[in-house]
């Protein structure tokens, strides 16, 4: 049983589940549970982005835009439209997918830094709309997120959201693993390694790219909705801003595009480190920057792939 689990492709998801269940017993206070929830949320978004970046080899510098759509859906739906939170969240995911579909069709034809700039534009566009439509979104100051009400009972408590985010992450991980080892996963990896060779064996490159772009937007939207619930207050910058997009990319690259746990490690570093470094006051960002540079220089493939490779070498 244990042996089978260790060799299973779902091992990272098992590990994640175990860590999620164990952490509440180890962490000293609810403050840490909040931080952990944040790690889960951003890990989920980064994992979606990794399907695009790591699996299909396509970049998006505007992915936080889709997080913004998910986040504002669960704020605007109940506040302005009288739609309950869960249907609002689903509508947010659907809208996010639709936007990704419409914007992805023309821009995914682009390659390399042209694609980077075009996706950057997508993100800025969404962020701009969220900032400018102040009567709906509260403008740059953002808006409060009504508490989720399920079966007439308000969902409250740091702990509850911790588990919700954790389960969402584990599910997202299982789906990502499924995809990786499926015909679509092979097609996406083929596109990443050689587009022309992918085409001559019959892979519809445009269609596959669009599919994974839409899927990664769905991940981001779910993460955005969770972020809104956990924080209780959202602003355009904190959900969809340019810096958020860059953060997501950094998490993926830092953690390693070649492993499912990579984005989780990257998210953990980028969420936890700034909190831990607050003792250094003014030097906080400088130290964060140095840590990131050192990671990339020492572990070029990213944290998780580099460490597992080293681990395998030692045990082999």
């Amino acid at each position: 049983m244990l042996n089978r689990m260790l060799r299973s492709r779902y091992l990272p998801a098992f590990l994640m589940l175990a860590a999620m269940l164990a952490l509440p017993y180890v962490l000293p206070s609810t403050y840490y549970l909040r931080v952990a929830s944040m790690v889960f949320v951003f890990a989920l978004a980064a994992m979606g982005l990794n399907l695009l970046l790591g699996l299909a080899g396509q970049v998006s510098l505007g992915h936080a835009g889709f997080m913004g759509v998910g986040a504002y859906a669960v704020a605007i739906g109940p506040t302005h439209l009288g739609v309950p939170a869960i249907p609002s969240a689903l509508a947010g995911v659907a809208l996010s997918c639709l936007l990704a579909y419409l914007m992805g069709r023309p821009i995914l034809k682009l390659k390399g830094y042209y694609l980077a700039v075009a996706t950057l534009g997508c993100g800025l566009l969404i962020s701009m709309v969220l900032t400018n439509e102040a009567q709906w979104t509260g403008g740059p100051d953002g808006m409060g997120v009504p508490r989720l009400v399920l079966f007439d009972a308000p969902v409250r408590g740091v702990q509850t959201w911790y588990y919700v985010c954790g389960v969402a992450l584990v599910i997202g991980m299982v789906l990502a693993i499924n995809l990786t080892f499926s015909p679509t996963g092979r097609a996406l990896r083929a596109i990443r390694d050689s587009e022309v060779a992918a085409r001559v064996v019959g892979i519809d490159v445009a269609r596959q790219k669009l599919f994974v772009f839409v899927l990664s937007a769905a991940y981001a939207a779910v993460a955005g909705s969770l972020l809104a619930f956990v924080n209780g207050h959202i602003t355009p910058d904190s959900t969809s801003g340019f810096l958020r997009s860059i953060e997501l990319i950094t998490m993926v690259v830092l953690g390693g595009t070649g492993a499912v746990l990579g984005p989780v490690a990257g998210a953990a570093i980028l969420v936890i480190l700034p909190q831990a470094l607050t003792v250094f006051h003014d030097y906080e960002h400088m130290i964060l920057g140095l840590v990131m540079m050192a990671c990339m220089i020492a572990l070029r493939q990213g944290l998780v792939p580099a460490l597992t490779a080293r681990f395998r070498e030692r045990t082999a």
Binding site: V174, S182, G185, V196, R199, V201, L215
Partner: protein, 261 residues
């Protein structure tokens, strides 16, 4: 014999250079047809046109009596045309087996949704594709290296891996662009044997190759290109004796090799 592929009066130029001009060719079902010519003669460019990567400025490409000019390669793949590349186009981040499994793409039927959900039918389809892929790896003599990462294979093995991947798509017409380039004597002999086996399995082969011995030995017909123009087309014996071909391409050295073969 029926015509599988017909290229009619194909031309293309790149910034003033006429890479291919007025080339016509009819490939018969079941034959091995080789295209030879000096470096820069336009052989690869001609391949790129008939495989749908380039749009010719003039001319038509007919595949099984259907006009496919300007159709993208993925569509041609579905109509039974596949190819390999002169400069390796391997999926280096995947295992040898997965490379060939990717070649099964057009035969895989499960939906993307079932892929995400990891339904049972996907597991069965993966197993089917893996079995077919192993068969193709065995066909090119790479069965032992199936689980290895493509990045760790030798150059000669990668050349054969590309052939296995193309075969996995079950083509009727296979275009091979210099499959033996950069291979040593043993590897070239292996490739030669593989091409024969492919033809023996009923697949039509169009081959671009510089190795004259190989070409003369296995081709049914040979097309000679020079500076984008078609110089001569015929069986090896005729091409070997053609004075224009000797002057333009084979030269002293090549003539001797061709006669030895």
């Amino acid at each position: 014999m029926s015509i599988l592929l017909r290229a009619e009066d194909i031309s293309i130029s790149f910034g003033g250079i006429k890479a291919v001009s007025g080339v016509s060719l009819a490939v018969e079902r079941g034959e091995i047809l080789s295209i030879i010519g000096p470096n820069g003669a336009g052989k690869t460019t001609f391949f790129n046109i008939i495989s749908g990567l380039y749009l010719p400025s003039q001319g038509r490409v007919m595949l099984k009596d259907e006009d496919v000019t300007g159709r993208p390669p993925e569509m041609l793949a579905r109509r039974g045309l596949c190819r390999t590349f002169q400069n390796l186009q391997v999926f280096f981040g995947m295992s040898a087996l997965e490379n060939v499994m990717a070649g099964r793409h057009r035969h895989e039927r499960t939906s993307a949704l079932s892929h995400i959900l990891g339904l049972r039918c996907v597991g069965r389809e993966n197993a089917r594709s893996a079995a077919e892929a192993r068969e193709k790896l065995d066909f090119v003599g790479l069965a032992d290296l199936a689980e290895r990462s493509a990045g760790g294979l030798s150059y000669g093995a990668l050349k054969r891996l590309e052939i296995a991947r193309a075969l996995a798509s079950e083509p009727e017409l296979l275009l091979l662009d210099e499959p033996a380039a950069g291979c040593n004597g043993t590897e070239t002999a292996q490739i030669s044997e593989i091409i024969r086996k492919i033809a023996g399995a009923g697949i039509t082969v169009v081959l671009v190759e510089h190795d004259m011995k190989l070409v003369m030995r296995i081709s049914d017909r040979i097309l000679v290109l020079e500076q984008g123009r078609s110089l001569c087309l015929g069986p090896p014996s005729v091409v070997r004796g053609d004075s224009r071909v000797q002057a333009a391409y084979l030269g002293q050295h090549g003539t001797r090799e061709a006669h030895v073969a």
